[in-house]
């Protein structure tokens, strides 16, 4: 059987409480505009959905394996990412409230109620993990000239080698690094590298 951290001996440590405190305060602030409770009803972007669904997957696996501590760090990472995107969308935050309710039930109840839900969050449905939201849809190619890395180019993973070649040739960076030279060959390994021989 899986030996989760729960089964290991561990020292009691009274330090680090500030971390919990800060995390919960930051989570709370996501739902507020200054002193007003305010969440947006806008649709979630793919980037936001990716953060949410990665978290759903991680939390579910962690709880099933009694590895609660790793869930907590996943929450912290997700929170940072949402701050970067300035996300206060209900479509993302409401499922997060449900996710966190197993760990931090008091704050979850309060936010759940402020989101307009009647009763306790305890009987909400656990958000369903949708795999397609977490699949990477683009790749950041390193573009080299004669083996020397010059710049990076983000392209859809759906492109084939020919389309990738066309895209890289059309990029203004290529012209810059090529200068007066002429292209002899373009080597493309999808989802790996692009190398221009000149």
């Amino acid at each position: 059987m899986f030996l989760g951290p729960l089964e290991q001996s561990k020292p009691w440590d009274t330090n680090g409480i500030d971390g919990v405190h800060r995390f919960l305060k930051r989570f709370w602030r996501l739902f507020f505009n200054k002193d007003t409770f305010e969440v947006s009803n806008e649709q979630a972007t793919p980037a936001e959905l990716k953060i949410l669904h990665r978290l759903i997957k991680k939390v579910q696996e962690d709880i099933e394996n009694f590895s609660f501590n790793t869930s907590v760090s996943a929450f912290m990472i997700a929170l940072n990412e949402l701050y970067e995107l300035n996300c206060n969308k209900k479509a993302i935050l409401e499922p997060m409230v449900i996710l966190i309710s197993a760990f931090a039930p008091h704050i979850a109840e309060e936010l759940w109620s402020r989101l307009g839900n009647p009763g306790s969050v305890s009987f909400a449905a656990f958000p369903e993990y949708v795999e397609k939201f977490t699949i990477e849809d683009s790749f950041e190619y390193p573009v080299s000239f004669n083996g020397k890395l010059r710049f990076k180019l983000t392209l859809s993973i759906l492109l084939n080698a020919k389309e990738i070649e066309a895209a890289v040739l059309a990029d203004e960076n290529t012209q810059k690094y090529l200068g007066a030279g002429s292209i002899k060959k373009v080597i493309v390994v999808p989802k790996k590298i692009i190398n221009i021989v000149c």
């Binding site: 059987m1 089964e7 009691w12 440590d13 409480i17 919960l24 409770f37 609660f68 760090s73 306790s120």
Partner: protein
């Protein structure tokens, strides 16, 4: 807007309580999930910090399962009978019921402040008469059942009586004590007393002679862990092994099932192994050696798993408390043997098993005949043989058993190797492999072939038979104490007679003092009119594990006054899906509960044969100690970074006056008078303490009261953060875990 932790936590805790948010009912439209914590003993010190961390884990899981659409049963209660409350009562006169009630109140307050999602409407307390009614009921059922080995389950004793009356006991295969074969005619001519005496050997709850740790000064039997080096842990009074008539539960009847059913459980391998070793199944042979003490000859029966090694049996050993000791001790050896048995009496079985360095023993003066070699071999007595395992006597094969080897070397007894080419110059060769030699008809066989061949020969010679043996013993169920469940048994003309369900609960009587009587009877001997229909009632009480053996069943239907649990409730909740608690219960509670459940399963009262499907042992919580550094010979303390400049002594400091390794200097001065005028050398205006991870103990001043968690924000999250922080510390320090 800032998050106001305290206000919001209090208000939602009140909401949950007022709305009974976590109250559950059976609901066939939803799948069930049963999450259980090992319920605490409400001690005077309040909740230990190890408790809530396990509870936090189970609470997270319960909340998760609710979100997943399960109907979650997550109850809590108290294992409320126990020794500390009784000891406190002896010292102060305060009734244990009062102390317990007060402690429970405090526990409840502490638990509530963490914000658990328990269904408190289902709370149970093992000391509550409405609860222990069902503990007493289960005992009565055990009293009125026997274990039929043919059907492999418990059956009514009335049915057994019918069989005895019609055909005697020759055809009965029972898990039972010593019984002689009798016919129906003989049975029918027996007196009631004689019949009851025989039936007692068959009952699953029975009165029987057993060897116990008796402490005369305390007037009670003590458990193995209450005895150290022949003295009681409490008070340091002498303890001796004594044969006493005690109530026992025939747990051994279930040994095979307890072993086999482990395979189906989602428990850790280490926990399963602990139970397997405790149950200790071994397959071998029972065989008879002829012994004589100079004047008389006897047949001495032994059990061995290595019948293939009979040719190397060069002496025999008896357990010091074996009844054979008296029979086989010759006049010449009498003084030496008496002295030795006196010495051995002072040690508990566990101490004797743990003793591996010191070799002790004494010769009885008698000899046995090795049935394969026909050689005369001496019979010894030694503490390394235990009375309760097998027959309390062994054939010793020093070449192939390490304890026999040590013994033979010490007392200079012959050692005959039986495996070709094995080296026994330094130690015995214990592996069951190789080619046999010095072994008569077994020569040339591999060990694997030799074991069954030897047993066959034993059976052919008519000196023994194949036998499976278990280490698991019956559980001693009597305690000479006050604060436990009374036995619903009275003595009618000396015969133990059961009360009926309608007489239950048999409530604990009042006594003037919580001590044994002047004549050495248990405390219940002080109760006035402790009688039933004019007959005296049993005066001992049940042990701590009685009340905790079926509490998981009671939670399913805690207010039922007609049954331990109704069929409907049991068919819905079935068993515990997830059980969380400490490993200290591996061979106690977790064996007894499984036994209790299997017994009730046999009787059709419960629908699952195992109580706890999945079990997780939460780890131990260690302490994080803090240190200050005193310059030797002064009252000056230097901060951590400066200590190498001086010759200092490291001193443990109370972790409650240290925050983030910074010492609260005023609090330190106030902590102990000797520090009132302490001088400090600081770093950047602060006193930095050193730290280490150690066992949590008062002497290291690193004990954390769980109230501390309650004062933190989102206690549950905090508890689980603790694990994560703790683990990262542990990894970086390479601290040894269990």
């Amino acid at each position: 807007m800032e998050y106001n932790f305290l206000e919001i936590e209090r208000s939602w805790q009140a909401f949950w309580a007022n709305n009974k948010t976590f109250k559950v009912e059976t609901d066939p439209s939803k799948p069930k999930y049963y999450v259980l914590d090992m319920f605490p003993y409400p001690s005077g010190a309040g909740l230990h910090v190890g408790h809530p961390l396990g509870y936090i884990a189970s609470d997270i899981y319960s909340r998760y399962k609710r979100l997943k659409g399960f109907n979650v049963l997550h109850p809590m209660g108290y294992d409320a009978f126990g020794l500390p409350a009784e000891q406190y009562a002896i010292q102060t006169g305060q009734h244990p019921a009062k102390t317990t009630e007060k402690n429970i109140e405090r526990y409840r307050e502490q638990l509530d402040r963490i914000g658990f999602s328990f269904d408190w409407t289902r709370e149970v307390r093992t000391c509550d008469p409405d609860y222990y009614k069902w503990t007493q009921w289960a005992f009565l059922e055990m009293f009125s059942h026997w274990y039929n080995k043919k059907s492999g389950k418990a059956e009514k004793i009335e049915e057994l009586v019918k069989v005895f009356a019609c055909e005697g006991n020759a055809g009965v295969e029972a898990a039972c004590g010593d019984t002689e074969i009798f016919t129906a005619v003989q049975w029918n001519s027996l007196s009631i007393e004689e019949r009851e005496k025989i039936l007692m050997e068959y009952r699953i709850a029975y009165l029987g002679e057993t060897s116990v740790n008796w402490c005369a000064a305390l007037g009670t039997v003590l458990a193995n862990d209450e005895v150290k080096e022949g003295l009681s842990v409490r008070g340091g009074h002498p303890v001796e092994q004594r044969k006493m008539r005690q109530w026992q539960l025939r747990v051994s009847a279930y040994a095979e099932r307890l072993l086999n059913d482990l395979d189906e459980l989602s428990w850790s391998d280490s926990l399963k192994d602990m139970q397997r070793n405790w149950i200790g199944r071994s397959q071998g042979a029972e065989m008879v050696f002829r012994v004589f003490n100079g004047s008389k000859e006897y047949n001495l029966e032994i059990f061995t798993t290595r019948a293939d090694t009979v040719f190397g049996a060069t002496f025999m050993v008896l357990a010091p408390e074996s009844e054979w000791v008296e029979k086989l001790t010759t006049e010449d050896q009498k003084v030496a043997v008496e002295e030795y048995t006196k010495y051995a009496k002072k040690k508990t079985e566990r101490e004797r098993m743990a003793e591996t360095k010191k070799v002790t023993g004494v010769f009885t003066g008698s000899y046995a005949i090795n049935p394969f070699t026909n050689e005369k071999i001496p019979v010894w007595i030694s503490e390394y043989v235990l009375a309760g395992y097998g027959t309390g006597a062994i054939m010793a094969v020093p070449a192939h058993d390490s304890r026999d080897y040590t013994f033979a070397k010490h007392f200079d007894l012959p050692i005959i190797p039986l495996i070709e080419g094995c080296d026994i110059s330094q130690e015995s060769f214990d592996a069951k492999e190789g080619i046999m030699c010095n072994s008569g008809f077994l020569n040339g066989f591999t060990v694997k072939q030799a074991i069954p061949a030897a047993i066959e020969e034993v059976e052919k010679l008519g000196i023994g038979r194949r036998k499976v043996n278990f280490r698991l013993r019956d559980a001693i169920f009597s305690r000479q104490r006050y604060w436990g469940e009374p036995f619903p048994i009275y003595y009618k003309d000396g015969i133990a007679t059961p009360m009926e369900l309608k007489n239950l609960p048999l409530e604990l009587p009042e006594v003037d003092k919580f001590l044994p009587t002047e004549s050495g009877e248990p405390p219940l001997g002080r109760a006035e009119n402790w009688t039933f229909g004019g007959y005296p009632v049993e005066k001992s009480t049940m042990p701590g594990f009685a009340g905790s053996s079926a509490y998981y069943l009671r939670y399913m239907d805690p207010r039922n006054s007609e049954a331990l649990v109704s069929k409907d409730a049991n068919n819905y909740w079935r068993d515990v899906d997830l059980y969380i608690g400490g490993t200290e219960h591996a061979t106690g509670h977790l064996i007894y509960s499984r036994f209790w459940n299997k017994f009730l399963f046999d009787l059709g009262f419960v629908c699952e044969k195992e109580p706890f499907k999945k079990l997780i042992n939460q780890g131990m919580i260690q302490g994080r100690s803090n240190f200050v550094y005193r310059v030797k010979g002064t009252n000056k303390f230097v901060s951590l970074g400066l200590k190498d400049k001086y010759d200092t002594t490291e001193i443990h400091v109370d972790v409650n006056i240290v925050s983030n390794d910074r010492l609260n200097i005023d609090a330190f001065r106030a902590w102990m008078p000797e520090y009132a005028d302490a001088q400090f050398e600081l770093e950047n205006g602060e006193y930095i303490c050193g730290w280490a991870v150690e066992k949590m103990s008062k002497s290291m001043f690193n004990v954390v009261n769980p109230d501390m968690i309650c004062e933190k924000l989102e206690p549950i999250l905090f508890g689980c953060m603790k694990c994560s922080l703790a683990l990262s510390n542990r990894a970086s320090l390479g601290i040894q875990t269990e």
